[in-house]
Symmetry: C2
Subunit: 399 residues, 2 copies
Amino acid sequence: MKKYYFDHVATNPLHPAVLEAMMPYFGEKFGNPLSVYEYGSQAKDAIEDAREKVAGLVNAKPAEIIFTASGAEANNFALRGIALAKQNEGKHVLVSRMEHHSILNSARFLEKSGFAVTYLPVNKQGVVDPETVRKSITKETVLISVTHASSEVGTIEPIREIVKVAKEHNIIVHTDAVATTGNIPVDVQELGVDLLTMAAHQFYGPKGAGALYVKQGLRIVPLIYGGIQESGRRAGTENVPAIVGMGKAAEMATAELGQRMEYLRPLRDRLIEAMTGVPNVVLTGDRQNRLPGHASFCVEFIEGEAMLLLLAAKGIFSASGSACSSKALKASPVLLAMGIPSGLAQGSIVFSFGMGNAPEDVDNLLNEFPAVIKRLRDISPYAQGWGDREGGDSCTAKK
Amino acid sequence: MKKYYFDHVATNPLHPAVLEAMMPYFGEKFGNPLSVYEYGSQAKDAIEDAREKVAGLVNAKPAEIIFTASGAEANNFALRGIALAKQNEGKHVLVSRMEHHSILNSARFLEKSGFAVTYLPVNKQGVVDPETVRKSITKETVLISVTHASSEVGTIEPIREIVKVAKEHNIIVHTDAVATTGNIPVDVQELGVDLLTMAAHQFYGPKGAGALYVKQGLRIVPLIYGGIQESGRRAGTENVPAIVGMGKAAEMATAELGQRMEYLRPLRDRLIEAMTGVPNVVLTGDRQNRLPGHASFCVEFIEGEAMLLLLAAKGIFSASGSACSSKALKASPVLLAMGIPSGLAQGSIVFSFGMGNAPEDVDNLLNEFPAVIKRLRDISPYAQGWGDREGGDSCTAKK
């Protein structure tokens, strides 16, 4: 059976050229970058070359890039590292309700450590209003963290405008750009952020490689203490092959970004246009400001999980909400924050396209998905009138 | 020029069979383990298979293994995670002076967070006396962390005896077994420890893969918050290929452990016997209880760095102290803790053998190393009498 992979927000296949770049570092170039002899210096040089390429992808300086093992690590590092560095200036942090669990749960850790956290509300498209940010700032606020885009609903946030508000009060801004880096233009100068999180496997690089951009001169407390790696800011023997792969993937994304966006948008748009014509299917997230390959829906009266499984049986792979919670079987906090009733939020499904998808793959999806919806609806008690008793206005509320 | 790699404590080459096991996960098996469709389940199954193999290597249960990205991460996780979980019971931690920077600097972080830390002294062989542990325990002590073996001087610590003392007071014990796991028998049941750190690249596995053994039922606060990976104890998309590689390397180490030790010990012993016959060369660490492939020395009147560079020019790669600080050009805190005067500690050099080394490689080393020492001594002002003015009794103090 042919497989259709429409879950590129969960992870991406490794680009063959990236793997090729990594291979020597699994072989003869296996040295520890801190060693003084040639195996060490060739590993060190490879890391610094990758650092330049990753910096280039987001218009940063190489010294502003700290490699981590994941986006989650970089998010923890950013929130806790800045909160600790700034705690004598204030103990209040703002995060949005659109954030990934690695931000939200880091924020909860900060609450347990004596910080106050404000969880910024969003509108029905999942957009954080910069004016809401302004009103939430207090004299104690030391950090604002808002995602660059939500991998659940695809909405791109107005980071530049949020930074403008923050900078009136001299507050540090972090953005989780895991979903955007390598997929849309990400420019730390233009955004004006102080910290930015990336993950290589979101742009055809390897798992096990992430990075945190930290603006030059900004003090951050390490998350992982130890040796002198990453200028003493992140310890642990460097995962040289993964870092090299991240560099190669960044170089390719820099070169191909426009072409990739132009390829993916029509796939997305065709799916959105076709599916929003199906009764009781609503688009989630912003229609205009959204990730190029991202189409997310809520389908009334149906569980997302059931759709995933029936589609998977046809070789079509998609997600219901964030991969990190897809097995939790709870309504997504992001969808609830957008005002979607919990019943409707249970019917969440996300299709995310990548460069391996062909236009014909969308044809196949459009052949199968409405039939899956019909089949599940035919057996749903909610679709037969019970729906009125439980969030019956959910659909209209979203239209 | 032929290369002689004698720095296996810094990192090891990846075993070709390990790379072969990893390769499918860089290719068609690229899924996110949390996804519900087959790409997800095949990745999840691969991780659980690796977890069994890693558990098998140290005689733990699979559920007691938490994968991390490095030994340093696992060490940070252990110290800070237990300290936070236990802080209501007491705020005192014991660590030895033999520890890696990832333990020592985590301990310093705990000090800044309001904990008291006692740094346990060691004897001239670098051994922590269990009686010293006993005397250092207070009513506030919640955690003891002593390395299983020092990668700098090769000494294997009496962990079992330390655990015995700790358990009289119901105190949790962690050991950093990065240098030992896969290289000597490591059995969490026999040692009796509650937590144990491993790193795959120390036993021919990949960089970017480590693990923390956490005894069943023991509560630990996460270091990296986020999704539900690793039972909610360590977030971040799993580095599936690296974890698979760690599993394969663990399986091989389990099968070949005795054979590897028998192969390495004679190489080590021959080098130690020959070099301790060279004037002004002293062995560091314990002669008997030491890592099978580990030979470390201090050479009077000579800088370790100078020896490394001259040897490297002959294709012989070794280290001076811990890789994580080898560029810091300071006398090793571990050597100083063993009572080695700072002048002599500057002359530290470590040779660590691996399965890629042949007995003839030691012949070559024995041909070259004494000549390097002679050449450096001929140009050293300290060797010509100035030594008396600066720690002149250093050599005799060590003999």
